[in-house]
Symmetry: C2
Subunit: 188 residues, 2 copies
DNA sequence: GTCTATAAGTAGATAGAC
DNA sequence: GTCTATCTACTTATAGAC
């Protein structure tokens, strides 16, 4: 977990807490406490305070999710199998009651959309990156460009929504229900 | 807006604020201020404080969404048209920058899932009600029971997720992208 | 049923020593 | 780069008058 410098430790802990408890639900003191980072150094590394930590944390989450998605999607031979594999991996995370590491910016995105423009834009950018990856993957499996783009939005929605249901049900089954219906959606 | 008694005014205002700013992002003072309700009466009507207000507010949102969904879904002659109509109505809400009235418990559901069991259960119950309605509608259009139940979960996920994207983009287009792909999903 | 005042705690943020 | 102490503002919640 520790990457050596204090900044990364703070950011990693903040990512974890923000995505589970949200922006307002997570205190700076809690981040300090859980990370074990020295309290005094927080405003040294992030002079703009909580908002700056949140922005950097969201960028980190975005990249993390992008990487694991890219990995999942490259391991299969059809679009259906690829996305089903991706969804199944996410479903597994919600079964264990362990921390939901690196999944989901939906909570903070909803929370801040109407109040913090800068955070809204970072979230928007993360979603665009994921959709670009999905689009690219669908094109590789011979989906026409426009349809691929639209399906990417739909898949993105599906994953965000099913993740909320999974949290609410404390189980990955909503994601598995989604995986099961993917073949109907992904017809040429 | 005012339904006569103070309790309902508080609840209505709380619903609005909770779904836009979340639980931790909304202060009791803000609810009082915005509702114009007398401050002293808050703990008279809700002796258990903020958590009780949240639980009742979520129930209210759940019923409100259920009713408008029932209305939307009963106006068309095919499953595809019915759900497309429903999604289109939601999309329109996100275009105007007005308050998102009565839509979406996803934010508060994510926020509280890991910390307040009682709130998590109320959200779970609301989702189950909506899915039951979707299932019923799909069965009416000759979908087999098991498939109808699974599609209901998928549609629920789709709506929750696309609503987050709509907020993040300040536009209803993600919901319209979903509507456009519904015919592929809803094949017998 | 409503109102005022206030308790008790915690939030984010800052200043200055080291 | 880190630590400690502290400031101000705000939070939920309560007590007691009306």
């Amino acid at each position: 977990m520790k990457k050596g410098n204090t900044r990364d430790v703070i950011l990693h802990t903040a990512s974890e807490l923000f995505q589970r408890q949200g922006y307002h639900g997570t205190g700076l003191n809690q981040i300090i406490e859980k990370s074990g980072a020295p309290k005094g150094s927080l405003y040294y590394h992030f002079p703009n305070g909580k908002e700056e930590i949140a922005i950097e944390a969201i960028k980190l989450m975005g990249q993390h999710i992008l990487e694991s998605a890219r990995e999942d999607l490259s391991e299969k031979d059809t679009a259906i199998e690829a996305f089903q594999h991706h969804v199944a991996k996410i479903a597994d995370v919600f079964d264990g009651k362990a921390c939901v590491d690196g999944l989901q910016i939906g909570l903070i995105a909803s929370e801040m959309a109407s109040s913090h423009e800068s955070i809204r834009l970072v979230c928007k950018s993360a979603y665009e990156d994921w959709q670009a990856l999905y689009t690219e993957c669908l094109q590789r499996f011979d989906f026409e460009t426009e349809r691929a783009k639209e399906l990417a939005v739909v898949i993105n929605s599906l994953l965000e929504g099913a993740s909320i249901l999974a949290q609410t049900n404390e189980s990955g089954w909503p994601l598995r229900a989604v995986a099961k219906q993917l073949p109907a959606l992904l017809v040429h």
